[in-house]
Amino acid sequence: MSKLSTPFKVGIVILIGILMTVIMVLRFASNWGQDEGTVTLHAYFDDATGLAPKSLVKVAGIQVGEVVSIELEGTRALVTFKVLKSMPIYEGVEEADNYMRNGGTITKKLSGILGDYHLQLTPGIEGRVLTDGDELKNVVQTGGAEALLNDAGKILKDVSEVTNTLSTVFGGPEGEKNIKEILENLNATTESLRQITNDNTEKISAIISYVEQITKNGADLLETGNDKLPQLVDNLSELVADLQATIDSVKAGVGDTLDTTKDGITQLRASIDKLDRTLESIRHIAQNVENGEGTVGKLLKDDSIANEAQALLTETRSLIKQGSETVESANSLIKPISDLDVDISLRGDYLINANAFRVDFGVRLIPNPSKFYQLGIVFDPHGYTTTKSVMTDSSVSGPVYETITTNEDTVKFNLQYGVRWRWFAGRFGIIDSTGGLGGDLMLFDDDLQVKFDMFAFNDNKYPRLRGTMLLYFSLFLPWEWGKTFYLSAGFDDPINTNLFDYFVGLGFRFTDNDIKSMMSIIPKP
């Protein structure tokens, strides 16, 4: 071993260390959801006891997500969690009390007796598929371990009371004496019973045979009179009802009946007069309608009004149909725009050889995860260097030429179309105001990005190459803004040695979600 060279030994140690770090991060530590992508949802719980960031979200006992954060909002716990994209969660159909029928449901469940919890998710079967930032409204609120222990406490209290009572009644010498007396009484009673049965065996047998005979006769009677029995019962019911009515009328008294009848005849006469007048009015209105007079009469008798109404309805139906088609067209036009993700980035790089800064402002439009458009403007101190010879003196001794190098167009533009496949993206288009192409490696949930660009094919002898590494803080720090800020480093144009430079810098990137979040905290006028 001592014969090995120093660089070799150092290399072996570093290689082993890096290998073990990678194994630990990829194998032991949870990189859950990085390959498939996740959807971040939230739900409100009355009690989030036992839940913590990284608590599991399970479907049928299998992990499909994890809790991202738990915050207090008002008096309820806002639990944000992420779920694999391959597990669609449905919103459901809204019903009363904000309940979403057939929608996804979430509840807190005890994982073990130690008081750790997980979220149990039911994806649902109907409605819209929930996307990033949506709320899962169906939350089954459950009590925690405390509620369980409270219930257990109540049961134990009841059991304790029962045992105390038993102890009071039967405990001690007195209780023992009572039990003994009860047993003795029971013994004496059974002995007396035995004596009675022994002495009266014949009588008991006779009683039993009589009872048998009576029940047999009753059964025969029921069997023979089975058809007549319901009729007999009905007649009996009617007879009872008649008797009851007769008794009631007798009770009402004869004197009161005469007065009541007199008043009733007077009121009946007045009512008949009013009814006559009302019938006359109705007959008059009906006559007018029949003659086609008045608004109702015209409506019922005039065919032209009916035809016009028919035409109006047809036209209205046509207008509604056109309106629906217009709305559908507008929806199909707006949908791609609403699905569009936008990333805005700004990066400043210090070019070490040039001793100057390059600023790169970019906007990335992402209509779907597999493709994007990159727009940008770059302030590059390198610019485009052009060299030319100019004749400055044409005196007798001959012309004198001077070489002038100019640096122009320091403001450059980017416009590229890119296609992404998992951790690799290819780009082509305008890079630094010239044609070019590039490739990106995006590793560790895009926290480490390595970019290679090749462009400016005609400006120098060789094309210009640029390699850039972007390292987001979230890769190595659990920082809230870790996905926003990043470090950059790289090299520029290593082949054309006169332009070679290397750079380090700092940048930030806002997604449309970040922008929405910021807009929500800006005070409204």
Partner: protein, 228 residues
């Protein structure tokens, strides 16, 4: 020291030699201490968790403890005992035998030549050694937990996977880099200012180990609060 770092000439050969001394030289003690730290921790956790039927938590507890605390701290103390004391001895001996003065006479900056490569070598190698310590300790926990304590592999493995986060590993490595800076700086400092012949070198060596170990433990507390 920072000025000496950025000022040429750059002593890459000295840096490589120091990396070999700190990294390759400490590899065996890191492997041994990592393996047996993980093993004994797994053994005790399996016993303690087994008392109330939660022995599946053994793996995750050992992995978290190793990656977040024990890995960085124990590997730093091991390196302090071996490399920091070695630095103090070498530089202290050069001081008392006036070799450092001779270097100054030859216009060689002793800080740049002796201290800068050692400090940066330790800063670079400590996260590597910490990762090796963590990995070997977790492997030992698997061996003891599943092989001897009889914990079911699925439960053991899934709990590690659920509870250990990449930040735990990378955060521990960041701590190890900071410990490397501190312990190497203390070793070089004590050696550089050693005086009083062989006795002074011995005292410098002892002091460097004691100060480095205590500093690591104190700073570990504050680093843990900052990183997590």
């Amino acid at each position: 020291m920072l000025a000496a770092t950025v000022r040429p000439p750059y002593r890459f050969k000295q840096l490589l030699l120091s990396m070999e001394f700190v990294g390759f030289g400490s590899l065996i003690i890191i492997l041994l201490s990592g393996f047996f730290s993980g093993a004994i921790l797994a053994y005790e956790c399996a016993y303690a968790f087994g008392l109330f039927g939660a022995d599946a938590l053994t793996g995750s507890t050992v992995a978290l403890a190793l990656c977040r605390e024990l890995g960085p701290v124990l590997s730093a103390i091991m390196v302090a005992g071996r490399a920091s004391s070695g630095m103090a001895t070498v530089i202290g001996t050069m001081r008392v035998t006036e070799q450092i003065d001779a270097m100054k006479t030859m216009a060689v900056d002793p800080v740049q030549y002796l201290i800068v490569p050692r400090v940066w070598a330790t800063v670079i190698m400590m996260p590597i050694l910490c990762a090796i310590f963590d990995f070997v300790g977790i492997v030992a926990a698997y061996v003891v937990g599943i092989g001897f304590a009889g914990i079911e592999f699925g439960a053991f493995d899934s709990m590690i996977d659920n509870l250990l986060h990449p930040y735990d590993v990378t955060g521990g490595m960041i701590k190890a880099a900071v410990f490397g800076l501190i312990l190497s700086f203390i070793g070089c400092y004590k050696g550089y200012y050693a005086s009083g012949g062989a006795k002074g070198v011995g005292e410098a060596t002892t002091d460097s180990v004691v100060y480095a170990s205590v500093s690591v433990l104190i700073i570990d507390y504050f680093l843990s609060m900052i990183i997590w």
